[in-house]
Symmetry: C2
Subunit: 605 residues, 2 copies
Amino acid sequence: MWFKRWLLGRPIATAQAAHERLTKTVALAIFSSDALSSVAYATEEILLVLVLAGTSAFHYSIGISLAIVGLLAILTASYRQTIFVYPAGGGAYVVSKSNLGELPGLVAGASLLIDYILTVAVSVAAGVAAITSAVPELHDHRVALGLLAIAIMIWANLRGVREAGKLFAVPTYMFIGTLGLVLVMGLGKALLGVKVDLPAVPAVPVVEGVTLFLLLRAFSSGCTALTGVEAISNGIPAFKEPASQNAAATMTWMAAILGTLFLGLTALANFYGVVPREDETLISQISRAALGGGLLYYFMQLATMKILILAANTSFNGFPRLASMLAQDGFLPRQMRHLGDRLVFSNGIVLLGGFAALLLVIFRGDTHALIPLYAIGVFLSFTLSQAGMVQHWRDQKGSGWRKKLAINLSGAIATGVATLVLAVTKFTHGAWVVVVLLPLFIVMFRRIRWHYKMVDWQLSLDMYERPPTPPRSTFVMPIGEVNRATVLALDYVRQRGREIRAVHVDVDANETARIKEEWAKWGVGIPLETLPSPYRSFLPPLLDYIEKVREETPGGWVTVVLPEVLPARWWETLLHNQRALLIKAAVLFKFRVIITDVPYHLGPY
Amino acid sequence: MWFKRWLLGRPIATAQAAHERLTKTVALAIFSSDALSSVAYATEEILLVLVLAGTSAFHYSIGISLAIVGLLAILTASYRQTIFVYPAGGGAYVVSKSNLGELPGLVAGASLLIDYILTVAVSVAAGVAAITSAVPELHDHRVALGLLAIAIMIWANLRGVREAGKLFAVPTYMFIGTLGLVLVMGLGKALLGVKVDLPAVPAVPVVEGVTLFLLLRAFSSGCTALTGVEAISNGIPAFKEPASQNAAATMTWMAAILGTLFLGLTALANFYGVVPREDETLISQISRAALGGGLLYYFMQLATMKILILAANTSFNGFPRLASMLAQDGFLPRQMRHLGDRLVFSNGIVLLGGFAALLLVIFRGDTHALIPLYAIGVFLSFTLSQAGMVQHWRDQKGSGWRKKLAINLSGAIATGVATLVLAVTKFTHGAWVVVVLLPLFIVMFRRIRWHYKMVDWQLSLDMYERPPTPPRSTFVMPIGEVNRATVLALDYVRQRGREIRAVHVDVDANETARIKEEWAKWGVGIPLETLPSPYRSFLPPLLDYIEKVREETPGGWVTVVLPEVLPARWWETLLHNQRALLIKAAVLFKFRVIITDVPYHLGPY
């Protein structure tokens, strides 16, 4: 207990919840780390596709980036409207479910859950890659480093929102500042014609020509830059009042910063003619060239690593909130519903960390293998969310609804087209995994809710006819030894008018004689029945006896009383209670049989 | 249950035990497979040491083998006497403990337990090597093959003694017969000067000269031939009456066969000038030469594999019996004491198989790495056992005791010297592991017995003053939902004059209001107390309340009544009872607090 307090901090009262709200500055750091961090790999992913048509195709990256930034602008306008309509949090699940119906809601919910897990895995993998670009010796330990990072994140998030905010505000602004410096210095050097130090460009074989499909694939890859922009619309209740206004303003700022950094980096990559390499990330190459290699370069790599690791944090805010909403609607286990005593959804945090760690181990910490799985879920939920908003305006109307509908409709169409492009161009590269997982999640959601409904129905008191008198219980006490634990259990259970049956399974004749003698002294007149055991096992005769007693009293219960010796040290439990465990396991699924353990606590010696 | 029956056979009644006794023919097969099988590697182990002084030193192997056979003769004479003195089974543990005292007994017991585990691991590894000598393609799968063999042995032994005997009699005699044929044909060919087909002798570098230490090391390595000869003296109760006479006769036969095969093989290796090779066992080379390679050779390899795998079976008889004896004396956990329902010690069998499998995996199935760990424990227990017999004759005297004492004394001295030689020459090759493990085992034995003694003392009724009236219990019922499960639990527990406290932890005001309303309908007039929970967790307020109730009734008990919903499918339990689990874990180590689970079994839907 004290360990939990020390690790996670003192509990926070429900009444304190309002004081835990975030300022815009802190909220920008927390909710935009995911979106901003994707700058670290989006340009590289575009060039990795274009390189198939040779380095001469790289100039297409400018146009592709502009298209992506255009998409970002539409999306931002679209989501700003959602923020005002759903001030309690307008995630894709809520918006789709309330406007389009349950199934689209569940599709959005499942996409988002998958996406949150992948965000953690991808961001951690890319963050570790930033470090191993600067310190190649650590390359072999990247899975271990990633797992360490996930463990730290679980810890930070279990401590709670505000403190997590403090921890994360600094690195986000550090990244924005340092990458800004890289862009200013880099573009300055390029414009002034200062020669920069770049690794020799390797000979790149031309594999295919510049086709529309290739350009669409490059566009799909670049779309990872937009993952995470929805985070703010899910987290409105975490903002200080007026929450919606603050959230919308933060959203605009985030989009502006994201667009600038992404376009700047793509432009600089083109100016310098940088080619993606296996052993060093693109952003590392550009930073090294622009900053000239020294201490500032290492600072930049550190900032990249930090924002990527912290980007995963967006998911640690989003996943547990979404899981809690799904659980409240009965689609996930009930224990995910509740806020923990630090005002966070503890179960969801641990679950998310666990899944992400699993993915990291399976894919051995490789960013490029994880990214194709990643964007399709995000864009599917974008589309459903915008389509839900379109339906909202059609239903609700209100002042200027036609203009608002047009904005959301353009968002829905743009993201819908992007989703199709992603699904088609990335299908064989891993997007199929998401296509398989989605229906499985939805089946699971529905199965869980069906279960809860059926259980509620079976447990309902609506048609229940209570028996006029409480049922009688016969108490069966298996006697293996006559000692203080046995006597204590007997004294706990014996009462005037109660039927107690003491039984001993006769495995060894000498022992049985001894037990009988001792029982005569301590058994307060209750007779000790002996159960023969021709096969030396104590369990079958006992179970037969319990069955017999149960049949003798129709409608009645059998309570099995077990004295349980609890040693002072944990390893000593291996030396006790094996029989009690076997008995408990054997009667667990029998009707009208109850186990009562009477503990006897041993002292240390 | 039916699966267990089908796998392991029907239970066998205690009264049937006598019918499970073994004839001499079957007993020879069961108890001597360990000793005989070591012929498959003992000669090779001797040559592997001598080869350090070049192939010219090989002729020393004849003398060394004769010394080992001399040791075998002394040991057999010595053990025959033990068999008559301890007809109930004269293992080293019993003989040392009853004559020399507890500590020597425990040393012998620990040596034997370690040795049994190593026997299984070594025999299985060598058996698999016999197969991979003939079929080199399987070399990469040797660990998997070994684990499969261990699994089959666990299965066979859980089925019981007699049937296991049937399974093992054929291969032992097959091995004796086929190896006999190899020796007759091989020596015949050698004497008649028939040219045999042997692989070219590789150039052997001379690493050291022929020193006394080298010869002693070779002797130590060859001593593995004697491992397992004590098996019969442990298993006398398994023989048909007159058990001692039958056992002694079987022992003599076994020693004669073992000596003949071992000497014959060493002689043949010298005649042919065979050199140990990495890719093929010595016995495989000799068999191939003597039998001429064809089907008969493969039959020989199969027989070698089978007897080696089955040699491990000796341990499956010995280990559980010894563990049961140690458990009866309080040195091992009590659950190892009992015969299972097929008249075998099931716990010991599974434990032995598990440890051996672990060793096999750790040493990656390599025979030569395991053998140095192996013989020292055996010889230590030989020495202690013979020394115990010497003490026995000094104490008991009896007719002709001086002669009998002399025989056992010579046995004790011979094996004692061999133990010292083994410990010194093999110390750095792995014998140190045993030297480290032995004290650890003995500390564990004593720690376990001390624990049981202290527990018996704490539980003893000798000075116990029973309270004049049974203690009162207050019943605390945490109410999370009001449904059939809750009402059933309430009806189970309510009785006239009983104090029942229904409590609800107030996490959510709306829910609390609903629960109160429903409880008013179903709570049979018991008031529902509401426990405030400022931190939203239900556990701390509940624990505080339980604590308060316990303090209100000094000397009394608190019984926490938990309705438990049991779903029809196992995975559905993940969706229920999380709170009940948390409550149970939290109060487990509280004094005078008892949990009563009232199960509600859901039907399938």
